[in-house]
């Protein structure tokens, strides 16, 4: 086969994916960017090129400094959740992956335990969230038990519709996204490296810190990308578990869309995208994940 013909064949082979990405990824993204510079009034959106939407997003933000405007506060709150969820899922995910990779010896058991981890995914996100409510509510199981046992006099208010319940739901929903890539990294670690560390006098913790964690970095970054992108854009979990009382960027965008302020929502989305891309860029700068792909 000539080189021209073979390169043409390669193009054909790549075509389905290119079409798929173009229609479902590139096109919507371009539309969002385009709409974000359009104008709008109470009843119509008007094709235009105007910075108005971006100005509106940050309206009064610079003047108010050092006080934080609504946008900054919301970003801060979203980033705070992002950080807490990231830390919690990382800690739990790493521990679970470590257990599965290094303590469960047989492949059979690894598969079984992995399936156990996926059981929550057999129901929808919303059902998984809502099922926390009877447990954590004012008259929920935990509060009743605490009062009966005499540990508390009154129901604990911070259990539900609070930062705590949002964090809990996020961790519950997304830890699996940490476990899988970290586990994947761990299974690639040559066991003789752990023996070599032991031979060199490393304790268990020293081996963990000096050998296992550095070699798991690509998996940690991939899991982190999953978790960070999901949490930064979330509005359902924060809405349901926060009792519609906690602000998030996703929530702002969703509200603006419900008021048909599409250009404003699009501008917010573009800014959010830029922020998330910067976070991902920083993470991939720190760790080369190509090795893992």
């Amino acid at each position: 086969m000539s080189r021209v013909a073979s390169s043409r064949a390669a193009l054909w082979q790549a075509a389905p994916l290119v079409v798929l990405l173009a229609v479902f990824f590139v096109l919507p993204l371009v539309l969002v960017v385009v709409v974000s510079v359009w104008d709008y009034n109470d009843y119509a959106i008007l094709p235009d090129v105007t910075p108005r939407n971006y100005r509106d997003v940050f309206e009064g933000c610079l003047v108010a400094l050092p006080e934080l405007c609504v946008t900054f506060k919301t970003y801060l709150s979203t980033l705070k959740f992002c950080l807490m969820v990231w830390l919690s899922t990382l800690l739990i995910g790493f521990t679970v992956a470590y257990f599965l990779a290094f303590h469960v010896r047989s492949l059979g058991w690894q598969v079984v335990l992995f399936l156990v981890c996926t059981i929550p995914f057999w129901t929808s996100n919303v059902i998984r969230m809502i099922s926390w409510i009877p447990l954590l509510g004012r008259n929920g199981v935990i509060n009743q038990w605490l009062q009966q046992a005499g540990i508390t006099d009154a129901p604990l208010e911070w259990l539900l519709f609070s930062d705590f319940s949002v964090l809990l739901a996020f961790v519950h929903l997304y830890t699996m996204f940490m476990i899988v890539p970290i586990f994947n990294s761990m299974t690639r670690i040559d066991r003789s490296l752990l023996e070599a560390a032991y031979d060199a006098g490393a304790s268990g913790w020293q081996t963990l810190w000096n050998v296992v964690i550095p070699l798991c970095k690509p998996g940690i970054v991939i899991g982190s990308i999953f978790v960070v992108t999901i949490v930064m854009g979330d509005f359902v979990t924060i809405g349901v578990m926060g009792g519609q009382q906690i602000a998030s960027i996703g929530k702002i965008i969703s509200v603006q869309m419900s008021y048909l302020q599409f250009p404003l929502a699009a501008a917010n989305a573009v800014i959010l995208l830029a922020v998330v891309m910067m976070i991902i860029w920083a993470m991939t700068r720190a760790v080369d994940i190509r090795r893992e792909l």
């Binding site: 040559d190 003789s192 490296l193 023996e195 070599a196 560390a197 032991y198 031979d199 060199a200 006098g201 490393a202 304790s203 020293q206 000096n210 050998v211 550095p214 070699l215």
Partner: protein, 330 residues
């Protein structure tokens, strides 16, 4: 150096119902090069790993010098292991790999890197200090692994098939280098291999193992000259197993005298055989011979003697050996 570096006392390893190492006793003198030789699955690697402390010992004891180390972790035994795959840390530079054990001991960064550089100098790898293992060739990785093991200043260096991953050309060179290092450092090397050439070339003490037992532990010359069992004779190679009146015996292939014609000598000691094949090997010629009771005799003849009267396949010959060349087998 004097004394015994490593002593195994009825050391046993079981994997479930399988006994991998069966109550072996062995004394390895200090400052010697010892090769554990045997086919795969003979228990040689398990033995090495038990000496290293990477495998629990089910029964018996291991002593290093005067200390019983049976239940000690590797780092406290005074051993260091060089792994078959080298097991270099892929995320650490060459110098940090070598300095790893010093880091674990809490040696400060500059001090441990300086010390690591000394050992890289010893294996002529100082120019590659800042490279990652993946950027090195197999032979270079091996030198780094060697430096990493030696930096702990072990009394005994354990090498698990160190040459098996190298190409034949490199293997010869590294072999010579290992021997040189062992001499210079004056410590004991215990080297696991399935290659008899390697064991012959390197060892002061060859330990031939089979099915979890030691068949023979001796100098290479004694093992080759006087194999104690049929297994050793066959595994070392270069031997014929002949059946004599006193039982089985091993005779070296190059100690067989081959004469044309099937006239048996007067004393009756000898075999009448047919030449099956002739293989020219440069300085020698290998004859494959067939005899009634011995299907696969081989004789190695000096090329000058052979070509004075060349034999052809199908020729009838008589084969003789001196009684002193036949070593009885257990």
């Amino acid at each position: 150096m004097q004394g015994v570096a490593v002593e195994l006392i009825r050391v046993t390893k079981r994997y479930g119902a399988v006994t991998a190492v069966d109550a072996i006793d062995l004394r390895i003198p200090a400052g010697s090069y010892c090769c554990l030789l045997g086919p795969s699955g003979c228990g040689k690697t398990s033995t090495l790993r038990m000496i290293a402390g990477h495998e629990a010992i089910d029964d018996g004891d291991v002593r290093l010098g005067d200390t019983v180390v049976t239940h000690m972790p590797p780092a406290r035994r005074g051993t260091a292991m060089m792994f078959q795959s080298y097991a270099l840390f892929p995320h650490l530079s060459v110098v940090d790999n070598v300095a790893f054990s010093l880091k674990m001991k809490g040696v400060a960064r500059d001090a441990r890197r300086a010390r690591a550089m000394e050992f890289l100098l010893l294996v002529a790898m100082e120019k590659y200090a800042e490279r990652l293992p993946a950027q090195l060739s197999g032979g270079q990785q091996q030198r780094v692994a060697l430096a990493r093991a030696l930096v702990t200043e072990p009394q005994v260096l354990l090498l698990d098939e160190p040459l098996s991953a190298l190409d034949p050309f490199l293997r010869g060179r590294v072999r010579a280098e290992l021997k040189r290092l062992q001499r210079e450092l004056g410590i004991s090397f215990i080297h696991v291999t399935h290659s008899q050439d390697e064991a012959m070339a390197l060892a002061d003490l060859v330990v031939v193992m089979n099915a979890g037992r030691i068949e023979q532990a001796d100098t290479p010359r004694a093992v080759f000259d006087a194999p104690r069992s049929e297994f050793v004779a066959r595994f070392i190679g270069g031997h014929n197993i002949v059946v004599t009146a006193a039982g089985k015996a091993a005779v070296r292939c190059d100690r067989l005298a081959v004469a044309r014609g099937d006239e048996m000598p007067a004393d009756g000691l000898g075999l009448a055989a047919t030449v099956q094949a002739v293989e020219y090997q440069g300085s020698s010629v290998v004859l494959s011979l067939q005899e009634e009771r011995h299907a696969d005799l081989a004789a190695v003849m000096d090329d000058a003697i052979f070509f004075a009267d060349p034999l052809q396949p199908g020729d009838r010959v008589t084969v003789r050996w001196r009684p002193g060349d036949a070593h009885r087998l257990d």
